[in-house]
Amino acid sequence: MAGKAATYSIAWDFALAQTVDNAQRWVLTAMQRYGQELITMLWRILGNEQDVCDAYQDTFLRLAHYENRSKPEHVKSYLFRTAANVAISMLRRKMAQRRLSATIAAGIQDTNLITRNKNDLDSRNLQENLRACITQLPEHLRNVVTLRDLAELSYSQVGKILNISAATARVYRCKAIQLLAVWMSREKEERQ
């Protein structure tokens, strides 16, 4: 009798698990629908393939474990915001590591590095500089820049994702670009 009850219990647990799993198929649908756009955005923020894969994995893991495995009301908004936040955190960590290693290696005179830093229009330098400045932006401005300029979403889509109007998104983007311009030129002056 007890054995039969145990079998029923296992069968019930299995059925329940199956139902939950089936209910979570939307994670795969979201991956199929938004994956490509997310990868493009992450690639532009991070610029490194392995980091992109890690950030992408982290984003979908968070989505799958969102509030007792329930589906968020706006999956697209959740995905884009989470992916951008994860990527920016990764970028900050990476920059801190780089700064640390630069401090350690400060005594070593690397002539090649100096000439590369002096070249203002070095594209790699410019990209890294911009990425570093983006991480320093206030959250509301950073979100708009990442979604509008790096994910190439329209202002109305950005507004929907961030729960602001399209006009506000425009204003934020304008402010962000002005700040970036000031910071980037300041860094150049400091280097000189």
Binding site: L28, T29, W43, R44, E49, V52, L61, L126, Q127, A181
Partner: protein
């Protein structure tokens, strides 16, 4: 309904305003260009903005590998639950490659489609024009014949003939 109409009107006016303002206040406006040419401060600001623009376009132009989506999907699917990992959709995602959007795919047909639409429009206009001309010709001819009968046979008889 009324508010929707109002919104549309607002949007149209906003677009016009933006266009009008950008004509007068955009970077290409003459008075701004003249000022920038003489003001070192504005030159520096403009150069800084240009630098941000340049950096953004460099970042955007960096190509990403075609198999990156596939690799990222595989890595993400592998940390999901067992049942999701083995779902047929997950298997498809593991081999997914980036595809252009529907609009981008249709973009190459835009030019031929526009040509076909233009041809159809011309043909329709020609057809309408021909039929209108034929109708006009018919009416005018009828009037001339009626006039002829009126002068030869009299008003009553011609009215009788042409009334049927």
């Amino acid at each position: 309904m009324t508010s929707k109409k109002q919104n549309n009107k607002c949007r149209t006016i906003r677009t016009w305003l933006v266009r009008a303002l950008s004509n007068r206040l955009g970077f290409d406006a003459n008075w701004i260009q003249n000022h920038i040419a003489d003001c070192p401060k504005c030159q520096r600001r403009l150069a800084a903005l240009g630098k941000v623009d340049l950096a953004l376009s460099i970042i955007k132009s960096q190509p990403l590998k075609l198999d990156l989506l596939m690799r990222a999907n595989t890595q993400a699917v592998n940390v999901l639950k067992h049942s999701l990992r083995h779902a047929p959709k997950a298997q498809r995602l593991k081999t997914a490659r980036p595809e252009p959007k529907l609009l981008e795919r249709c973009a190459k047909y835009a030019h031929p489609a526009a040509n076909v639409a233009a041809c159809i429009t011309i043909m329709l206009l020609m057809k309408v024009g021909i039929f209108t001309s034929v109708d006009k010709f018919h009416t005018e001819g009828r009037k001339v014949v009626k006039q002829y009968y009126t002068t030869r046979l009299g008003q009553d008889l011609s009215d009788e003939i042409f009334s049927s």
